[in-house]
Assembly symmetry: C2
Homo-oligomer: 240 residues x 2
C-alpha cells in the first residue's frame, strides 16, 4: 500500500514546518505554490527571513512542489492551508474543483498585510496588524462560504507552526490545541493528524463560528510572545 498523499499550500515557514514533519511521518507531501518557477528562482530569503525555497527543498528530498491546483488535486483528503490570510479566499476559490469533498485545515490569521508591511514586526505599538474580517466573521467562515463543497477546519492557528508539528518541544507536550468545524468527520481527521504530530490535548470548540475567537487570539499570542522575548517558545494549556 502506498503512502497517503497530503497537500500543503504555501511555501512560508509554517508550510515548511508541516511539509517536513509530514514527510517524516511517512506521508507523500505535495506542496502548492502560486508559481513554481518563480518560487524556485528566488535566491534571497523571504520577508520572514526563510531561506530560498529551492535550498530548503534540496534538504528535504521526496517533497514535491506543484502549482496550487496540482498539489490540491494530489491530496487524498487533507489539504493544509498555509496561504497568507489576505490572499487565501481568492487563491482557494481558484482551485475549488481540486478541493471539492476534501478536508481543508486552515491556520491563517486575516492580517491586512498591505498596510502592515510599511512597518517592522514587532510593531512599535506592540500589536500585529489590523485583522479583516474580525469579531463578527472569520477568515475560516469566509473560506467555507466561498467553498461550500469543502470541509473547512480551523486549527493550528493558536501556536507557532513549529510547535504545532512538534508539541512535545514545549513543556513535554502538555498544552492544548483547538479544532473547530461544521463537519464532524473533517474535525476528526484533523484531530487524528494532530495526534500523529504528538498532541494529547485537543479541545473541540464546536462549529466553525469558534474560528472567530481562534483568529482574534492572535493578538494575545503576539503579546505573550513579546513578553517572553523573541525566540522563547510557549504553549497554552486549558487547565480544567
Amino acid at each position: 500500500m502506498s503512502a497517503k498523499n497530503i497537500a500543503v499550500l504555501g511555501t512560508g515557514g509554517g508550510g515548511r514546518a508541516h511539509a517536513a514533519r509530514l514527510a517524516e511521518l511517512g506521508y507523500e507531501v505535495h506542496v502548492g505554490t502560486r508559481d513554481v518557477e518563480a518560487t524556485l528562482a528566488r535566491t534571497e530569503p523571504d520577508m520572514m527571513g526563510n531561506a530560498p525555497y529551492k535550498e530548503w527543498l534540496a534538504d528535504h528530498p521526496g517533497i514535491q512542489l506543484h502549482a496550487f491546483a496540482d498539489a490540491a488535486a494530489a491530496a487524498d483528503d487533507i489539504v493544509i492551508n498555509g496561504i497568507d490570510g489576505h490572499n487565501a479566499v481568492a487563491a482557494l476559490t481558484s482551485i475549488a474543483d481540486q478541493l471539492t469533498g476534501k478536508t481543508l485545515i486552515d491556520y491563517a490569521v486575516p492580517y491586512l498585510y498591505g498596510a502592515a508591511m510599511d512597518h517592522p514586526w514587532p510593531t512599535p505599538w506592540g500589536t500585529m496588524p489590523k485583522m479583516d474580517p474580525c469579531d463578527t466573521d472569520s477568515l475560516a467562515e469566509q473560506i467555507q462560504r466561498a467553498l461550500p463543497d469543502v470541509k473547512v477546519v480551523k486549527s493550528f492557528v493558536t501556536q507557532e507552526q513549529e510547535t504545532v508539528v512538534n508539541p512535545k518541544a514545549i513543556g513535554g507536550g502538555d498544552h492544548t490545541m483547538f479544532v473547530a468545524s461544521d463537519h464532524t468527520d473533517a474535525k476528526q481527521t484533523a484531530t487524528d493528524l494532530l495526534t500523529a504530530y504528538g498532541w494529547t490535548d485537543v479541545l473541540d470548540l464546536g462549529g466553525l463560528v469558534a474560528a472567530r475567537g481562534m483568529e482574534m487570539y492572535a493578538h494575545m499570542h503576539s503579546a505573550i510572545g513579546l513578553a517572553l522575548g523573541l525566540g522563547h517558545h510557549f504553549g497554552v494549556k486549558v487547565v480544567r
Copy 2:
C-alpha cells in the same frame, strides 16, 4: 493602623466576587453603584441571575455601598472597575476627580449589549456579542485617554472573576494571569493584589496596548467555556 480602603465599582457578579474576597483579605471595601437607592430597592435577580444586591449585602457585613463618586473617593489607591464595558468610559469620566492619581484596574469587555440582550447567552451562534472597540483600539486605552491622570491597568479579563479572586480553585492555581499598563507602579500594585488573591504566575504583557488582545480573547474564553460545558470552570496556563 486601619485597614486599607479599596473601591469596587459595579454590583454585578464580578464586582461581588472582588468585594467579598477583599473583605475576607481585610480590606475596607467601598462598593460603587450608579444609584444607591435604586440598587437597594431591587427585589428581583439581575439579568445575569444574581440575587438582589440588598440580600447579598446582608450576607457580607462590613462592605459599604456608595454612589460611584463616593466609593472612588474613599479608595486609598486601588479602584476596581466592574462597570459594564459599554457604560464604563462615561461612568468613569463622570468621577474623574475622585479617580485622579489612583490605580484603576479594569476587567471589562466592550460588548455591545444594547443589541446583544435581544438574544439569550450562550447565543445560538456560539459567540458573544460584537465588541466595540476591537482590534485597533481597546476599552482600556479609551479609559486611559479619557482619564489621563488615572493609572489604568488591564487585568482579570481573561478569567471568570470568581476564579480571579480564587485561582487555587482551578488546577491547584497553576495557571496564568496577565497585566498590562503604561504605568509600571500601578502594574506592580495590581500584581501585588493578584498575589494576595493567590496568583503565583502573573505575566506582564507590557504597555496598555496589550489590552486589545486581552479583550479580544473574550471570544476564545467563551468558546472554551461552551466546549467544556456551562458551570465547568477553567484556567489558561502559558506553558514555557
